[in-house]
Amino acid sequence: MTALAAILRRASTSSAGAVLVALLAGLLLMALLAPSLPNALAAFARGAFGTTYAVGASVNRAAVLALVGLGFILAFRANLTNIGGEGQLAMGGMVAAAVALKTDVAGLPLGLAVVLPALAGACAGGLWAGVAGWLRVRRGTNEVISTLLLSFIALWLVYWSVHSDALLRQPRTSATSLPESEDIPDGTMIGMLVPPMHQGIVVVILLVGLVHLAMTRTVWGMRLQAIGLNAASARRAGLSIPRLTIGAMLASGALAGLAGAFMIQGEQYNLKAGFSSGYGIDGLVVGLLARGSAPTVLVFALLFGFLRSGGIGMEIGAGVPSAVVLTMQGLVILAVAGMEFLRQRQARGVP
């Protein structure tokens, strides 16, 4: 009996518990809205797992969320809350597209044609977050506010770049030419594992391991944790807080920027305004749920990747609004946020 109570108590304060509660609420919502729940669930499953294409698209989405989530937990290690993943993603995608379109990288050998735009995207994302790090160090600006504002600026920069003929807009061959960039050259596209799953997935898996090692097994990771836990004593121990803060933000943004490059070079092949819409927030949620663990990021990224695809499938197949999935996500975030209360009570020994 007490064992059961202990399990229940642990489940009630874990991310898995929060997700479970939100999923149940989502199921209830579906039952209310769908003419037939089995049909809705079948459509959901078809959208998420039904075809190789569906699975591939879900995995591609999960890869983006995982990178943004990794970036979030990395910065959070140093007690920096980077909520600007959306903007860093957008900057990464825009710069990757610009390098692919406006330079001659496409002809380069040894895979450089693919790698250079992706690296440029990662740098762009890193620098965008680095601005927030720099402002925090030099001006004491709260990084939550600055990354949020920088996100909006980035989204409108992308909008501008695809609306301006001088920048990335495709030539106006007819009156119906959309405000989008041209397709990037074939040479700069990321190859496929199993279409539509691209080879960036391998990089993402490697990065999960790398970030995990960096956070748990390196001096740098320990220093980030030190300034995160107690900046004052870390400073007394001789750590450079400015350097570590900016470094953490650069790395955090670079991961999101790389995700943006993967979206352009691996899936979408051209730049549109709003191409990153929703991915940054989803990635942030994934990072929050993972509670600092890189492998867990991967688990929640996959969950959310399949959830979104399933939601779209459900909308098309069973007429249940995909906003159900959106609501579920909101509930997951709220459950996780609210659980902090239970966790603190438990820490104080209140049953």
Binding site: F152, L284, A323, A337, E340, F341
Partner: protein
Amino acid sequence: MTDAILVVLAASTVRLAIPLLFAALGELVSEKAGLLNLSLEGMMLAAAFGGALGCFASGSPVVGLVVALACSTVVAGLQGLFSIVLRANQIVSGIGLNIAVLGVTTIAARALFGRDAGFTIPGFGKLAIPRFADLPFFGPVLFSQSGFVYAAPAVALLIALLLYRTTPGLALRAAGDEPRAVDKSGASIAAIRWLAILVTGLAAGLGGAVYSLADIHTFTENMTSGAGYLALAAVIFGRWRVVGTIVASLVFGAAASLQFQLPALGVDFLPPALLIMMPYVLALLAVSGLVGRQSPPRALALPFHR
């Protein structure tokens, strides 16, 4: 620049600034008390939806307004539950509320108003003030607007008086700077913050209601599309002062209205995107102290533990 365009520009500046102004003034009260509500966007969206719902069901825009305020207050209440009672991370719970409100209003709008957009509700019309409406320039800009425009100065005045001329206002501002001292003085931080967040909910509700009841007489999915975040930026750019917040809202309104008038003004070298992003750039400069001195409340976004 012809006079006619100038009048249109000024009138739409006021019209676009008003919802921001309501929400930003409301948020100012919360932030002064140490609460950061990213859910301002959700409050506004809930109010826009509630306004349409109330009006759709009853045919009366007044009922719509009441339902709008009720909806935004519910969201504010939930944010209060997370920020004040559960002492949750205010940013995380704010984002969660925004996503949930977007999901719920989208589902509910489809279920209630039908899938096809284009339904209309009665809403509030323009209210021309006799005689004043005939004034050159000021007439069309200030005196032939919706009732919300005339209510805005009153709300601003009330909030300024609340913050700076009342005892609860003093305690409220202290709760955002030195919550521990307030607690020692015997006042309840929780009660003060609840008061603040309810004011925010009501004011944000007024702002959100403008969209569905005065601007366009309908509701569309994600109707506020980021206005709440813009209002947050206005508080920052206004450097946490009432007058600053009013000026910031007007500047943001001008930027928004200018983007629509640029072609008419024959300006084609200035990309509209630059104008739309300007509020965020200004807010970033302000919060970084690169223009003027910044003074956010010291306990902003920090849960209070006794």
